[in-house]
Assembly symmetry: D2
Homo-oligomer: 345 residues x 4
């Protein structure tokens, strides 16, 4: 199977190259970008030298449609809104890593993203690819909307609780911390080393565009879920997201019971690992891998449940999950090509 | 005025040396520890070479009582429980940076610290030195219990809200992130560079000994405050604490009104700086200084208030505040000797 | 083929687990240590949970000799001196990642390592596994001495120059910088986060035990090589070594000519990548991979050549190269199982 | 005394604000920049809020000349070339932190900086302010050229050796490592956090514009000094420079003798601290301070001397030394206002 990567110069695109290069059933046919056309990808990423010799090409939908079976779009907001319909019309499958097909309510998209939403017909057809919770046969699906990094971490940690009515749906707080690579390869004052190292920042308080994605994702399990407080912080590190999540229990419970619920929920899910009672994951324990590690505890004093989930934002939070979805589209083992052990230390 | 520092080899002690050395009215008479006796302090801290020539001395209460007016105790739990009464009896004032005199309820102390509490007579006399909120004349006080780093950050951020009945007292969550220096100079796997850098960790979930100190501190303003959820994380940096705090508003409010409340509350407090609407502090903006910077926002969607406060855990969270308290004991300007601008970048 | 790892709780051992797990022709039969016996390896390395279920076993040479074909020794100095002869006698191949079989001159070993050397018979038989420069058929070799991390980086960068008599052999200076993981998993003040982050240190000036290994390695190409100045620094990062190397040219040359020499020298070596004129590698460009990237330049003003080589100290500098050597012992493609793209960013 | 700071939005300018604010004899009259005019300085530096209320002003030489006694220029290359003559003509003293008046040979400046040099008359009058080695009475000087960060570190470490003919003048190599703040506040791919953290880079090999400044500085002590190899690296940290320097001894010597020479050379220099035999400084031991710490050793095996010097690039390497020079111009104790203890940890 041949694939193309649009947006190959970004971190998500580069991570797709790293992962797909080792995939036994897929080859990268071409890499595309909107700038640096004709330049080798190694010009942007010297670490790929001698391994990758692709040159950056412009996006030519018709040409690409004749040559590839599937397109990954690791592009800024709005690009997939425009391009995905064209590829689909030409019979090319699309996995979109941007937010363009995640929010089904067009007005909500407009409000949080500030640009025009994708067409409603495609929004209905797109499958939200939080792989562990997809309930349709992906081998029949042509358009997958790959989840955001934060929502992946938050939803995997909260899904069992809302699905089983364990928590008061009005009390959900997600306090998330990310590494700096989530902000991408573009330069900004917020990611300038001298002002980011040895510094801990908070940003977009109550305004992050992943908020409605988390709410919508939770609604699928439980339509009582109300507005969620979602806060994002920037930690002085490159990779990793930790979401620390709080909610009040509907009735008294125990850590043991909660862990059993999570283990049951994710029994068949290789990439979700539940921690033993009293232990919690740290971000480096999933570094470079597609795992999502989750710790859970219940506090009798406050009747609150705390869930801690960690992912590598560029892998399970983006390109790794995209390939996991691709594997399901191909009908092969979801682990194929993405069963890397975390790089530690 | 002459002071002695007990526990000078720890980071809190070293920071006292850095600060007091520039203090115009105080001289460090001697530095004390329980190990490395006779060794110069510069053996532990080469950055002090040529500046400090003190040698580490054992603690000799009687000798010290004849020589100094005030003792700073930057010691592990239990040491001040034993030594403070002796110094006080000899007429020497004590500022204790440990937790020994912070928790007035002996059973609560025993439960969270796991050791025997200080004697109740002294617990009653000790003044909790969250300087901005001390309501007694410190020049008449002989024993100050200097607040913990996390409680300093949390209480300064929550005090105006609980005092003015703005928030539902049962909904308080403190999600705190600290730099690694808070764990001290002692070696541990948790602070081993290779496993701490490029890593974000959570620890002591629902079990941190600063929890009852925060609850007790809030009770002073409002006895309706219930059990607080307090979570602590380790960020890959050396200095700094950020506390992100959540609570549900009792009635609709606005960010503007909340900021006005905070500005009013801290109008005369040089070391507390309130951020303008829409902006929030990051830890490096107080690095090396005694400031506590606070940002506040209200979210209509969730009816929740978010407060973000940052401090340097070794300065306002420990030694800086100790000197601020000392200044008040001396009846001099609280800024004396601690008006350092943050070191940035 | 079945292998055992002795010293599995160290970083070198853990990295062997990460790499070998993906190797198509080898399975890890058992993991061994001198402590934590009976404990699962995941107790030391939570990132391996659900992937690895081995428990730590004591070293039992006879039992292991019946069960495995090859033993990796990722152990402290002196252990392989004692154990390797026993395994070899039992027909088990050994790849030793420690320094025990690197220095052929026993007195030199004793002087720099401070302990007794291995027996001379084995020192003669052991092959120094700087893979790109091994000139014997490894499939016939039973004992490989895997190079040190610094010597790997230094020798790959200097070999073409000394082999071709390009540089004055008395002028070689190696200024090396390493990440902290090179110091291992053991706790030490030198690797305490709060004193290592935002800090750049120098250590063991003129006294590092890798000095004679570099000198001996260079002698193999050119017996005129004199004493080398070798300096080691600790950078505030976890992985990576950069060696910046200086030597005076014997006669005028050019950067272009030097690059051609290096390209020619490493024409058939997949894991050595030579940079184009005017560009130099940084450590992250080989992070997590087995590559050694090299940049070279000549300065007319000083008549000096500067060579810059980078490796991941735990991969090409230890476990990756060990597997590369194992592949050659097995007579299979040297890339098998170690062709990971660097993890970037 | 009133001073103005031109280039206040850069890190050098901001550090001047931090330092001068505590200076007992000087007040900052105004801060100037070429952009953000009218904006408060706290817009660029929130850590200064409530402390500094200056607004950024354009440079108006005539107006400023009536209002201030001295101008600090922390500006890009070329700006002081243009402005300094005007201030001097108006009787205003100038301390230039840029390279414009450092290189006395105009052709050398043009070759390394790529722009036109300052006028020769002023180049002759300007005093190179490596404070410890200035041999004129600064109170009579109107234009000080403040040394570059790297040259400060290199020259303080090499001066005693070249002055006393200890080393072969053709063998000098300076291998320097800097924190990222040296690259300034301007955004660049080289200082993007995700690609800088956990990375060690080399840059401008043999081409750094501080090379001729080091050579010229050494020439003042010994006109036999030849071309120096000067290499610059970027370490993943914010502040600090370490220069590791190598040279061959002219005749056998000893570490002890060298240390005595350095101690003698810097006997009256508070800000230069010489380390005891066998110990070496690390960058954090001077963090935030004006100290330069130096370690020295001699290696019999190679007959080479290694000198290690560390500074905070923004303090002794820029703004701290500028104030030290200002103090000498004022005829007051050189320590005034800059005797901060390093911030550690």
């Amino acid at each position: 199977m041949k694939v193309a990567i649009i947006g190959a110069t970004g971190y998500g695109g580069a991570e797709l190259v790293r992962i797909l290069r080792q995939h036994p059933h897929v080859s990268i046919h071409s890499v595309h970008a909107s700038s640096l056309l004709g330049e080798p990808l190694t010009g942007s990423y010297p670490h790929m030298q001698t391994i990758v010799d692709d040159k950056l090409q412009p996006v030519d939908v018709n040409k690409m449609s004749q040559e590839v079976d599937l397109v990954f779009m690791a592009t800024p907001s709005g690009v997939a809104t425009e391009l995905a319909p064209q590829f689909l019309e030409n019979g090319v499958k699309v996995i979109d890593l941007s937010g363009d097909y995640r929010i089904t309510d067009q007005e909500v998209y407009r409000a949080w993203y500030g640009i025009d939403p994708s067409e409603s017909k495609l929004l209905e057809k797109a499958v939200y690819g939080l792989t562990e919770w997809v309930d349709v046969d992906l081998s029949e699906v042509n358009l997958i909307s790959n989840p955001g990094c934060y929502p992946t971490s938050a939803l995997l940690g909260l899904a069992p609780l809302v699905q089983h009515n364990i928590i008061d749906e009005k009390t959900i707080i997600v306090d998330a911390k990310t590494g700096v690579s989530g902000a991408g390869k573009g330069l900004s004052a917020a990611t300038h080393f001298a002002e980011t190292n040895e510094n801990f920042k908070i940003y977009k308080v109550n305004q992050h565009q992943h908020t409605p994605e988390i709410e919508q994702g939770l609604h699928r399990f439980n339509d009582q879920v109300g507005a969620v407080t979602f806060t994002t912080h920037l930690a002085p590190m490159t990779r990793g997201i930790m979401s620390t999540m709080y909610a009040t229990a509907k009735s008294k419970t125990s850590t043991k019971a909660l862990i059993e619920l999570f283990e049951e929920s994710y029994r068949d899910d290789y990439f979700v690992r539940i921690r033993e009672e009293g232990t919690f994951p740290s971000t480096k324990e999933v570094y470079g891998s597609n795992f999502c590690d989750i710790g859970i505890t219940y506090d009798e004093r406050t009747n609150r449940i705390t869930v801690v989930s960690v992912i590598d934002n560029l892998v399970k939070g983006a390109s790794g999950q995209a390939v996991q979805n691709m594997n399901k589209m191909l009908g092969i083992d979801e682990k194929t090509g993405i069963d890397m052990m975390p790089v530690f230390p």
